[in-house]
Symmetry: C2
Subunit: 394 residues, 2 copies
Amino acid sequence: MLPLNPALLSGEDYLFARIAAAAAAEQLRCPHRPVLSLGIGDVTRPIAPVASEAMRTAAAELASEGGQRGYGPAAGYPFLQRAIAARYDGLPCPVTPAEITVTPGSKEAIGALFSLWDCQVPVWVCDPAYPAYRAAAEAAGHPVFSLPCREKDGFLPRPEAVTQPGLIVLCTPNNPTGAAMDLPEMTCWVRFAGESGSLLLVDTAYAAFLTGEALPRSIFAVPGADRCAVEIGSFSKSDGFTGVRCGWVVLPEKTGCGAAWRCRLGSHSNGVSYPVQRAAEAALSPTGLRQRQQALAVYRQNAENMLHAFRQMGLTCAARRPGCEAPYLWVRCPDEQGSWYWFHRLLRECGVVCAPGAGFGTMGEHWLRFTAFGDPRTTAEALRRMTRLFPAKA
Amino acid sequence: MLPLNPALLSGEDYLFARIAAAAAAEQLRCPHRPVLSLGIGDVTRPIAPVASEAMRTAAAELASEGGQRGYGPAAGYPFLQRAIAARYDGLPCPVTPAEITVTPGSKEAIGALFSLWDCQVPVWVCDPAYPAYRAAAEAAGHPVFSLPCREKDGFLPRPEAVTQPGLIVLCTPNNPTGAAMDLPEMTCWVRFAGESGSLLLVDTAYAAFLTGEALPRSIFAVPGADRCAVEIGSFSKSDGFTGVRCGWVVLPEKTGCGAAWRCRLGSHSNGVSYPVQRAAEAALSPTGLRQRQQALAVYRQNAENMLHAFRQMGLTCAARRPGCEAPYLWVRCPDEQGSWYWFHRLLRECGVVCAPGAGFGTMGEHWLRFTAFGDPRTTAEALRRMTRLFPAKA
């Protein structure tokens, strides 16, 4: 047999596949108590009516004589590139439509980006972080190093930890900790990248959960970031598109990587489904932006209820900066037992699924991630069940 | 600046990007004569009404309280896996739904597949062939070798040319030559792969253009292929889905690669858009299969008209096996000049775009590829214009 990519032979399933398998086993063990998930960060609210309507119109077009379309541009249709670029208007680094690539989502974009650089370039990944960063970097053959995100630093990584130039993956607000960078912290990273010859890959999948002005929604809020940063955006969490599949990459020409990226795109992609791109365009219209707020309000309310309930239970939640309404709560395990222990105990005793912090990196051990993307009634019932395990303090 | 992937630094644009740029330049030079394309193999007929309707229904579902869906399975929804697996019913190698991965298309699937093996595994690519095979294999770091497809062999590759085990990329019927393998030839490849420890990656994007029983539509028509072959399928050409984006991979468990493939899928993909998967399911329904015939008949008639016209012009077309109605005509350049010379001459003198054979590999030099996927009136007009350059023989 031909030798396989060694990075794919760990035998260890992707974190969320392990979680799903454990939840399914519990449901079999105890069939009369529905397992409730606060684990995988999947949305539960419908997509915006205007996005659905745009997709339906596009699907009808494709079946009509005059509306048929074949291959779209590999980087996305100009109508969507323009709509996305407009979201960056007014920032210190201008973003042009030609610098936008429409993608099927962040996970797919990150995998593609890692193959853009020589595989000997080191990749720096936050610990804890979304596990696909490390898995995709290793699958592309890169050496991967950890950037510890310690509680005493507000779970934010520190440039001093980077000992050699490379690709530095950041996510703000962070998954799983909910930590969000402010402008001085972002500026510090941009300066460090510029001086060290590193490149920042900034995942903004949760930027819609930032409010106010203190916590920037884009790395391009920092002057000079367009020489040393690539941004990855997604409609998944802001617009309920986890099953629709659409996101984008901003790869500024000033990074000098544009030609190689276009070369890769040409041979690896025929672009994103046309009706999906029309749905994404509609999601960014004034009506779409108004309609998305309904779902976001539900998730924010969930997060608030969870925070309140966890405090009542005597659990410690990671601090959240004002303006950061991240859809994940990062909760310390109540004793010295590990996060998989508490994951299994919550599943067995309450039928509630969370995500064990250890699955996001060694620094995530002794923490649990709870998602606020659930259905409000499911979330309330999960909290009620947890109260039996952690009786409210007097 | 961090070093980029050397395979992406050739500075040479993807073949079809070069063709499109030349066509656009000609349209500017001669604005009153529309440039007519028989170049890029893009479909021009609308998608089936039943596929469009399924996509519209799914888009409406996603916006409803009861119909909302989040992440789908990374390998695709079971409803589509089952519909695709059913297409293999009755073949000597049974294909189960769990062995099907739904993909956004063949190009995307091929890029993903190459990263499944150690990058030192050699990749054998037909010459001439679809240029994305070589580009994607090189981008994944594999050494790439050519399998010459000579006119005297009916433009089919021969196992004797493979001097060390590796991944062998085959496409039947072939793009660009239209050559299709019969069962004994396929059997010969399966036997060779089994004996040498190689693995066949078989692209069947054009299988819908095979009729009758002599030319198999799948490598799994050969007993034992499930131990040494992966098949890549697509809805692009059979169902006009080039802009909808859907295809599939059959990766049999007996190849021993299933676990690594699932590991890669988990960290690189969140599956294909749900409404797209519903459209693909509808395309495989009895109504969808009936409706697709309308478009296929148009393309077949185009191919027939082109073959007739080219012969009238005194041009030599590669022979087509009975039962192979491949949507590409492979035409010998009329003199010793190269294929880019004739590409530019046809473009300049007739305003007609073809694809120069040299773009598909060195063995493609002195040949031109013409696509039958055009609009029938455009195709007829292009043929009329060409007649002025090649007056009909007496």
